[in-house]
Amino acid sequence: MEQLIEELKKEIIEVLNLEGMTPADIDENAPLFGEGLGLDSIDALELIVLMEKNYGIKLQNANEGKEIFKSVRVMAEYINAHRTK
């Protein structure tokens, strides 16, 4: 799990182009949206693409992301439970 969290942080930084950030700067328990990292709806769409591309998880509705992207840890748990690759 901890390894997946590290991996995810790296992927998030890359796909969202969070220039100048390192995995250590992201608190895996902090919210990704709003406060916390301050991401928005387009970032959510990018994360949905990330999950499909890297872990074979396909969401049908952007709203489903709301629960999954609460924090990096929640996201990692969801991926662990549903990944197909």
């Binding site: 709806s41 769409l45 952007a62």
Partner: protein
């Protein structure tokens, strides 16, 4: 195709949204509003040779342009008047570029389409496809409000006597690029779109083209033409909220409607029908609805989104919906908003669900909103 057929479909509640036939996308489960003619058929219609390179956006535009010119008694051309063409498009020649992109970079097979890729090239081709000479032309690209902004530029040109007659509108064909783009934003409904419905789940992408011929009253008089209606007001404002999302209170939409009303010298209560932007996405319809409630209070006039018939024709939509608004005005009817069943919780009004015939309309407002918060509104009024 054409004003009469459009009118017949609107009266009969017959939507053009369905399965894709000519667009070669793998996402065949997505309904689209495709123009039911192949490129070859469109070419034949325009007497364009089989081997001439032309994009579908231009073909659609050229067909619509010709109909507009014929109906304004400008076909063949009368050289005594200065004429301009202002056309809106966004993806331009992309539908060919996405097919030939490998060739563009690696072979010499499709070089002629490289020059047809950009927006301006589409307008140029539309002008050329009609045996016609314009004294001036330009292209507007403000995404889904492109054609509405063409109307606005054209009107300003007429006011300053920069042209005698101006043809304004927009054109856009379906492309994988566009369909996949909207799909990547997860705002395409897998069912026929449901504008202003509580359970709406996105838009259906459409294609099309529409042009209006505009001139000053005295020019029409000198030409012996009786105009269909008057463009009495318009507004263009920016929501300045988000690149793709509309603000919750619809600030840009509110301001553009208010500007149009002020320019027309009308009260909100003078508006008899609103042809809404109404894409069917959760975000647009709620935001637009709030903006309408801010403008019209608890007396929102009859509203419908005709995107439930055409799909979202993006850059053309401002032209297509202006044409429908004018049809409604001169033929005295209000088109229905298809697929509506339940009111949006936060809105106080519901759209018109049954076509209303034999109604006297004086002023019709039409909204066109684009990505990036490019919001425009136009008011068409009956000539008394």
């Amino acid at each position: 195709m054409g004003a009469d057929e459009t009118y017949a479909c609107l009266l009969a509640g017959r939507s053009g949204i369905g399965k894709m036939k000519y667009l070669k996308s793998k996402h065949t489960d997505l309904p689209v509003g495709e123009v039911p003619f192949s490129d070859e058929e469109l070419r034949e219609n325009l007497f364009i040779k089989e081997d001439a390179s032309i994009t579908r956006t231009s073909l659609l535009g050229a067909c619509a342009l010709r109909e507009a010119l014929v109906s304004a008694s400008l076909f063949p051309r009368d050289k005594s008047w200065k004429m301009a063409l202002v056309s809106g498009t966004t993806v331009g020649g992309m539908e060919k570029s996405e097919l030939f992109y490998y060739d563009f970079l690696h072979t010499r097979e499709k070089d002629e389409y490289i020059a047809l890729h950009d927006c301006g090239a589409c307008t140029d081709m539309i002008g050329q496809a009609n045996p016609y000479g314009f004294e001036m032309m330009t292209t507007i690209s403000t995404a889904c409000s492109s054609a509405a902004n063409a109307i606005i530029l054209g009107a300003n040109m007429l006011k300053l006597n920069r042209t005698d007659i101006v043809v304004v509108g927009g054109t856009e064909c379906l492309s994988k690029f566009h369909l996949d783009g909207f799909n990547s934003l997860m705002i395409l409904d897998h069912e026929p779109c449901r504008p202003f419905d509580k359970n709406r789940n996105g838009l259906n992408l459409g294609e099309g083209a529409a042009y209006l011929v505009m001139e000053r009253e005295e020019t029409a008089c000198q030409r012996g033409i009786s105009p269909l209606c008057k463009l009495s007001g318009y507004g263009n404002r920016c929501d300045a909220f988000h690149q793709t999302a509309s603000s919750p209170d619809g600030e840009g939409a509110y301001l553009s409607m208010m500007d149009a009303l002020a320019m027309a010298g009308l009260q909100p209560s003078d508006i008899d029908y609103i042809n809404a932007h109404g894409t069917g996405t959760p975000n647009n319809d709620e935001s637009e609805g709030h903006a309408m409630m801010r403008v019209f209070g608890d007396a929102v006039p009859p509203v419908s989104s005709t995107k439930s018939y055409t799909g979202h024709t993006t850059s053309a939509s401002g032209g297509v919906e202006a044409a429908i608004s004018i049809l409604a005005l001169i033929r005295g009817f209000i088109p229905a908003n298809l697929n509506f069943s339940e009111k949006i919780d936060s809105l106080d009004f519901t759209p018109v669900t049954e076509v209303k015939q034999g109604v006297e309309l004086h002023h019709v407002l039409t909204n066109s909103f684009g990505f990036g918060g490019n919001d425009s509104s136009c008011i068409f009024s009956k000539i008394s």
